[in-house]
Symmetry: C2
Subunit: 237 residues, 2 copies
DNA sequence: CTTTGACTGTGACCTGGTTCACGTTTTCCA
DNA sequence: TGGAAAACGTGAACCAGGTCACAGTCAAAG
């Protein structure tokens, strides 16, 4: 296919809709139709895309960059629930009913999103039922992930929890290299701590000891090299 | 409507399908059609309805009774993820693809279920798109609940977590009474502990102290009287 | 390239929850 | 209905992870 067909000025010449798994069942012409419904928006690092408690009537699809979905707890802590990156979406809860968001969403870096109005999306679902099934599939995956997280937080040791996050990130953000898998961390140490319900210090200490054991190697603060994936996997069984 | 229309021998003369929110959008005739697709099954307390890792190709709807969905962790602990009761369903993950269950399901008491084959259900969804939307809605509610649970387990104190469960159970299993809300607990102390990632002893101790503070009153092991719902709600803010 | 603020690592101490142990109570079902 | 088995409550000791404090390091912006 000619990639110029997918051109869209607001998206740096990527047909955002076409790269999102939600719309993989559509052909080019249908995609062009979807494109007309989409509004684009850009956010700088640290900007909020969605406030906790905000009621929106649209679906937001991440086209470039990364965001974190999190809640602020009464005692001033932060619980990170999701990292959304290219192709992920949020706001699916307002597809069915107008509901206040139970988390805030903040850009972790320069982020571009595609926004589609609730009504338009509902019509799309009616026209192309496969899209609805895709949404359902993603929701089920998200349930899977949360179920795992709950098991981790409820019953696992600290090192198992950290191994678990590292493997999750390796899956999502890792690149193969001769020495092992290099992970571009989406979160700081503190962010990781807030993702798995620990403190920055504990994460720091455990990762240091994992490095001493030869399991991982920390490269600056933003990268980690997984030297022994198998051992990590074993430790969370 | 004449209730005899809803009669079904296997269901003790309740039209199981009609009582499930999934099918509320259907009329009587459509319900009768759904009924033909349904197989019934009964389980005694302690019986397993689903094994961890099992691959099924059907959707299970609880018609009577209660079940717990849980995972056994490596260190011999149990993490309870859901309590399903009348009207709840599970197995939705294999509506989309054949996937191994990541939890086991066990009857907490005598339980009757309605089972509908994956293919049949998919056809129903195609025929009545509202059913698909209902499934999506339930999945979103389930996400909400898990997101709350994760915040609880990640950042909250023990008493806040217990208050939170009690309020959840009050919502789902509570009955108003002159003194307060009486909760028929679906779980033992140990079960509650496994639901919120604590030990039996800790739950026991905290509930005793909550009783001393006049917040709750324990009636035997299976009932709890909420004397001061407002105070509990305040404690988890 | 340098500066500045944010992030990270680590030691010492503290605390809340787990573990272990055991006596009591409740539940269930034969 | 009685008796076994399961569930519960509670004390004491322990310890993993949190808290606090501070020094070292990194990285983004000018």
């Amino acid at each position: 296919m000619d990639s110029s067909l997918y051109t869209c000025n607001s998206c740096q010449h990527k047909l955002c809709a076409g790269r999102v798994s939600l719309f993989t069942s559509l052909d080019t012409e249908q995609l062009m139709q979807v494109m007309k419904l989409i509004v684009h928006k850009e956010y700088k690092k640290g900007e909020l895309l969605l406030y906790e408690g905000e009621v929106r009537n649209d679906l937001v699809i991440v086209n470039k960059g990364q965001v974190k979905a999190f809640r602020n707890t009464a005692d001033g802590k932060e619980q990170i629930l999701y990292i959304f990156s290219e192709g992920d979406f949020f706001g699916e809860k307002n597809l069915l009913r107008d509901q206040a968001s139970n988390y805030a969403v903040e850009a972790l870096e320069e982020t571009h999103v595609c926004i589609i109005r609730k009504d338009d999306f509902q019509n799309l679902v009616k026209q192309y039922p496969d899209i609805g099934l895709k949404v359902m599939e993603v929701l089920c995956q998200r349930l899977d992930r949360l179920e795992n997280t709950i098991e981790n937080m409820g019953t696992r040791t600290v090192s198992a929890r950290i191994s678990s996050v590292l493997l999750e990130f390796a899956e999502k953000f890792g690149k193969e290299s001769p020495q092992g898998i290099i992970i571009d961390l989406p979160l700081s140490r503190e962010g990781i701590a807030n993702y798995i319900g620990l403190t920055r210090e504990t994460v720091s200490r455990k990762m240091s000891s994992m490095q001493d054991e030869g399991l991982i190697e920390m490269i600056g603060n933003k990268k980690i090299l997984l030297l022994n994936k198998a051992a990590l996997e074993k430790s969370i069984e």
